[in-house]
Symmetry: C2
Subunit: 192 residues, 2 copies
DNA sequence: CCCCGATCCTAGCACCGCTAGACATTCGAG
DNA sequence: CTCGAATGTCTAGCGGTGCTAGGATCGGGG
C-alpha cells in the first residue's frame, strides 16, 4: 500500500503548504488579502482543492491559529525560563507575549480576534490552546497572591495584555511607551 | 430660503436614519449583516443615496462609533458620580464600562474593534472620543498613585477593561465570573 | 490493456462595496 | 408661464468575495 501512503503524504504536505501560504500572505498583506482565489493561485491549485482540506476559510484561519498557539506557548516558556524569581518571570512573560503579538500580528489576529471556529475555555478546546494558557498559568500563578484563584488571576492578567496588544496595534493607544505600560501592569498586578 | 432649510433638515434627518438603522441592524444581527444593500432597503432608498452622505461603509461605522462614544462617556460619568471615594469610583467606572460593552456589542465593536476611519490618540481625534477617554481619566487619575502619570495609568487600566470585554464576548474567557475579575483588577491596579 | 474511481478544474451562483450614467423632478431666470 | 439648468434619485453594472455543481482527466487494480 505504498502508493496510498505516498498519496496521503502528499496530501499532508499540501495541507501544510496551504496553512503556511495563508499565514505568510496574511502576515504580509493582512487577512483581508487572504482570499480563496489568491490562496489557490499561490499554491498553484484551483479553489476547490482548498475545500477538500478545509470546510472553508474560517477553518484555514483556525489552522493558522493552532500553529501560532504552539509557537506562542514555546516562546512564553522560553522567556519565563530565563528569568529569576516570580516577579521577573511574570515581567519576562508579559514582554514575550506583547513581543509575539507585535512580530506576528496576523497570527495573533487568527488566535484572538478572528473567528477560526475554535472552541475556547471549554472541554473540546484544542490542546495547543489549552497549552498556551497553561504556559501563562505556570508563571502567573506564582504571583497571584494568597487567596486569589490562579486561574482567575491569569485570566485578568492575560486580558490586560490582550488589551494592550490590540489597542496599541489598532492605533487606539499612542505607540511607544509600551515598556512603561507593561512595567506598570506587572508592578501593580503581581504580588510582591 | 425656507425651502433650502427644509431640504437641509430632511437631509440631516435621513442621515440620522441611516446611522440609527445601521446601528440597530448591527446590534441585532452583527456588523456582517450590515451591507449597503440591506441598509438601503431598510431606509427605503437606493444604495447610491448612502454614498451621498458617507464616503463608504467605513464612515457609517465611524458615525455609529461617535454616537456610541458620547453615550459611553455619559454612562461612565453617571456611574462615577454615584460612588463615594476614589476606589469606589474606579470600581463603578469599570463595571459601567463592561456593562456598556455587553449591552451594546455592535457599538463597542464600531468603537474599538472595527475600522471606522477615525483618528485615535492624535490631534485630529474627534471630540466625543477624546471626551470618553477624559471620562476615564477623571476617575482613574485619582487612583493612579504617586509618581505615576495619570494618562499612562488610564491607558493601562482601559486596556485591561478592553481585554476583558473583548475576550469575554469572543468566548475566549469563560462567561460568568465577570464580577470577580473586575474586583481583582480594581483591587490590584488602583492605589489605596 | 482497459475500465473505473479518485482527483482536479472550469464555470457559475449569490452576494459584496461601490459608481457611471440615465432619468425625473424642482428651481430660477426671462 | 415657459423653458433650460441644477439637483436629486434610481437602474444597471463592474470587479471582487466565499463557495459548489458537474464534467474532464488521470492513474491504479482487475
Amino acid at each position: 500500500m505504498s502508493v496510498q501512503e505516498r498519496k496521503e503524504r502528499e496530501r499532508a504536505d499540501r495541507e501544510r503548504l496551504i496553512v503556511a501560504t495563508a499565514r505568510e500572505l496574511a502576515e504580509r498583506q493582512g487577512w483581508d488579502a487572504v482570499t480563496t482565489r489568491r490562496l489557490a493561485e499561490r499554491i498553484e491549485y484551483s479553489q476547490p482543492v482548498l475545500y477538500s482540506h478545509f470546510r472553508g476559510k474560517r477553518e484555514i484561519v483556525g489552522a493558522v491559529a493552532l500553529q501560532g498557539a504552539a509557537e506562542l506557548a514555546a516562546e512564553l516558556r522560553t522567556a519565563a525560563g530565563g528569568a529569576d524569581g516570580p516577579r521577573a518571570r511574570a515581567a519576562a512573560l508579559a514582554r514575550a507575549y506583547l513581543d509575539f503579538a507585535e512580530r506576528n500580528p496576523a497570527v495573533y489576529d487568527a488566535l484572538f480576534r478572528l473567528d477560526g471556529g475554535l472552541a475556547f475555555a471549554e472541554e473540546e478546546t484544542p490542546q495547543p490552546l489549552k497549552d498556551a494558557f497553561a504556559a501563562l498559568l505556570e508563571s502567573l500563578g506564582e504571583v497571584a497572591g494568597d487567596g486569589v484563584h490562579p486561574g482567575l488571576f491569569t485570566e485578568v492578567f492575560w486580558a490586560a495584555l490582550h488589551g494592550l496588544a490590540t489597542l496599541t496595534r489598532a492605533g487606539r493607544l499612542p505607540p511607544g511607551d509600551v515598556g512603561r505600560r507593561v512595567d506598570l501592569l506587572v508592578d501593580r498586578l503581581a504580588v510582591p
